[in-house]
Every structure is written in C-alpha cells, then in structure tokens.
Symmetry: none
DNA sequence: GTGGTCTAGACCACC
DNA sequence: GTGGTCTAGACCACG
C-alpha cells in the first residue's frame, strides 16, 4: 500500500487519502477482508496528522467500503471492489466531463480544444500500459 | 454580457465571475475601452453579494485587465484582448491536463480512459462550431 | 432552537447533537430554508468544543439534511422535514424494538416484561400531550 | 449453554457475554455449584478472542457470581440465582425506560409512540410463553 | 461574521 | 496494538 499525496491542488488531504484507498481497492491492491493500513501507520507514512487519516477512514466507513473489526483495525468490506471500480470510472468520467465542459464555456473554438486535448493526452504516452487496474 | 454561474463545483464565486469576464474579453464580447457592467447591476443579475462582484473586479484590476475611469466605472484595458486569449488557452490546457493526470493516477487502464475521453468529447457535438471566439 | 444534551448514556456527543437537530427539523422548529444555529453559537450554548458541533453538522450535510450557503451558514435542505419525520419514527421504532428484543432474550417471562412496559410507559404520564410534533 | 452473540449494537462483546451468563444463571440453566463453560471452549464456540471471554469472567468474579475452584474452573456461586434474577429485571427495566425516555425526547406525539410500542410488543407474539425463566 | 481544514495531544474502550 | 471521542487552537476562504 504505497500512497503518494503529491500534486495537491487544493482538495483536502483527507479526501485525497480516501480516493487513494478507493483506487487501491478498485485495483485490488487491497482486497475484501484485508485490513487497511492502520491510522497511525499511514499517518506516519504520509507525514500527516493521524486525525486526518482517521477522517478519511471515517468517510470510507460511512460509504460502507471499510468496516471496523473491534480492537483490530478496519477491513475492506465485501463487495467493495466492484463498488470502487464503478466509482472510479464515474470519478474519471466526471473529471473529464467537467474539464471539457469548462473548456467549452470558455468560448475557445472546438478545434483548438481538441488540439489541446490530443497534446495533453499524448503527454507521458497516451496509451502507456496501465497494468492491471480494472 | 450574459453570465451564467451554474455548475458550481466549489470554485469560489468571485473567481468564476472573474473568469467569465476574461473570457468575454477574449471573445471580444467586451472590447478595450468599453465599460464592464457595474458592480450593482452585475450583482443583481447574478443574485450575488455585491462584495463578491467587487472582489472579482478587484482581481481583474490587479491583473491590469480592467482600469478605473473616475466617476464612470471600469473599462477594459488596451491589450486586454490578447492577454485574455492566451490566458484562456492556458486555462483550458491546465484543466484538461490535470483532469487527465488525475485519471491516470486512478489506475484505470489507459484504453478505458481514452474511451471515456472520446465519449465525453463527443457529447454535445465535439466539433460544434464555437463561433468566433479566437 | 433550545437543545438539552443531558441524559448522556455513552452515545457520542456529536451524534446526540445531530439527532436533536433532526428532531427539531421533524418538529418544524427548524424549517427548510432557515439557517441552523451557527457552529460557534451552538458550541457556546452547549459548552462543547466547536469541532464537536461541526462534526455533527458535517454528518447532517452528508445525509443531505443541511446544505452550506457559502459564507453564510448551513441551511435546512428542502424536503428535510419529511425525511426527518420518517427518520424519527424509524429511530423510535428501532429503539423500542431492540429494547423489547433484548428484554426477551433475557429469558424473563413475557408477562413480567409486559408489566414493566406498562409501568415505564406510565411514568411521567404515558399519554401526556406531546404538542404538535408530527 | 448455547450463546448467540448476534445483534451486536455496539455494546462490547465481553459485556454481552457476561450478560448471557447472568441470564443463564437467572434462568437456572446454570445452577449454583455448576461449572461455567471453560474460557477456551466458550471462546471457540463464539469465535472470539479468549481474552474477551476471560474479561467477561473476570467481571463476573468481581461481582461474586462466579468463583474459582482451583485447578478446575469457575463455578456458579451460591445465591447467584436470586441476584441474577433481580439484576435481570433491573436490566430489562433500564432498557425499556431509556428507550421510552428517548422516544419522548424525540417530540413524537405520545399516541404515536404508544402505537409503535404496541406493534413492536406484538411482533413475535407479545405474550408468548417464556417458559420457566423466573 | 460564516464554515472548513489541519495540527497536537489527551483519554478511553476494545481485543 | 487498534480505532474513537473530545479538546484546544491556528489558519484559510468566502461573503
């Protein structure tokens, strides 16, 4: 479970942590029944206050993706994999859609937007294999 | 000068207003020498606190895109058109880039991301003529 | 908006605060569109840390019962009244059901449980008018 | 001595185990002089950490309901039956009372609470004979 | 003025 | 060891 929190944009830290956990579940880095990294451990790894991690975990519990095992830790709920996968594509779709939408509201001609889109998608190798993730 | 502020995502209102003004300048809806809508008028139209509009205008002045005309209002500065145009493509590029970047960090396979990208670009007519805007 | 937090049983404070707000909405003490008491004000009234109130409010937002009005406060969402009312009867039903269930699992004869039930319901006037609440 | 720990609500496991033992004593499933199930056996049966059972037994000893017999196990103390019986009705009364109290604080009209009370008491046969238990 | 985020640290219950 | 609750206080963004 390696998590990198760089590329902060302004989203709260706890939200980004929660997202990372979701994506880890979607990618089966974390499987149902396994324990999520402990609050203390993860907070140390990320150099973040334990409360911040705890809040992320709390949100994940509220969504039913993690469930507490008393005195032991937080366990990935059964069925979480599928839910995280669909959440993941919705997340991606949402981001791309609103970016495109914003671009259009800008008034910039469609052809130019499309050109930028291709450039940016190309950056870093558009079709670089993204291993097994789904 | 019609502005629609819907689709709030969490960006501050004053920032979105400022953007709209910039895009209007880039699209020559507002030309150098013309007056920007008054704070009162715009705040009424947008159903927003006048302070909020004032702050947007303050930022635009700080960027040198609007300049005060004593006792009259704020006028679009000369040279604003070009600067807003380049700002516009940078804005668009930035949004698209970070959306794509985020999509990749998700772990979703590149092929799937690309598919979504095409779908979303297609929505609403990908190449719909975006009139004169550049 | 008077709230009394006495009768602590072990339930977390923030949860009890959230419940009180819900019941206030159910009883139309707080109506859709109105602002909930501010975090600072309520925390002062309850002699509780502001964060504790904030957490209660956060949970209520997650349930869609309160919604933020930027820079202004938290407003009761439309439709909250009905949702809180049904939540209220479910809350009451749940409590009573599990208390009864527990009583039975105790092995105590039904007749005795029923006797206690009558006694306890009678305490404080079983049918005391509970004003308008529904 | 069959114990079912389902219906966890948040009460600690060790507490629920202790309660079950008490009720078994009250119902004379376990009589003074008899041995309580061994920690190992019970922990295996309940799929619970042995420490958890041990703690329940520790509490029961502290209350004088179980007493150690060297090299043999824990036996039900004399006089435990009566004490468990009164503890049982107090337990039941306490639960019902606080559930009713909470229901009232909800603001739900008394008539509605009473209706729910009758429904829930009816569920499963309000007066089903609860065999010998008292 | 409003809420939101984050930090720091104490204390508790549970296993 | 685990998570959960609560406190205290700083700082920020928004209107």
């Amino acid at each position: 479970m390696l998590i990198d929190l760089s590329e902060s944009d302004g989203r709260p830290i706890y939200g980004r942590i929660a997202d990372r956990i979701k994506f880890a579940i979607a990618g089966e880095v974390l499987r149902p029944g396994e324990l999520a990294p402990s609050v203390r451990e993860l907070s140390k790894q990320l150099v973040v206050n334990p409360n911040t991690v705890a809040r992320a975990y709390r949100d994940l519990q509220a969504e039913g993706l993690l469930e507490p095992v008393r005195g032991t830790g937080l366990q990935v709920a059964s069925g979480a994999t599928e839910r995280c996968r669909s959440a993941r594509v919705e997340f991606v779709r949402g981001r791309l859609r609103s970016a495109i939408e914003e671009a259009r509201e800008t008034g910039l001609p469609g052809a130019e937007i499309e050109a930028i889109l291709h450039e940016e998608w190309g950056r870093g190798g558009g079709d670089r294999a993204n291993g097994k993730g789904a």
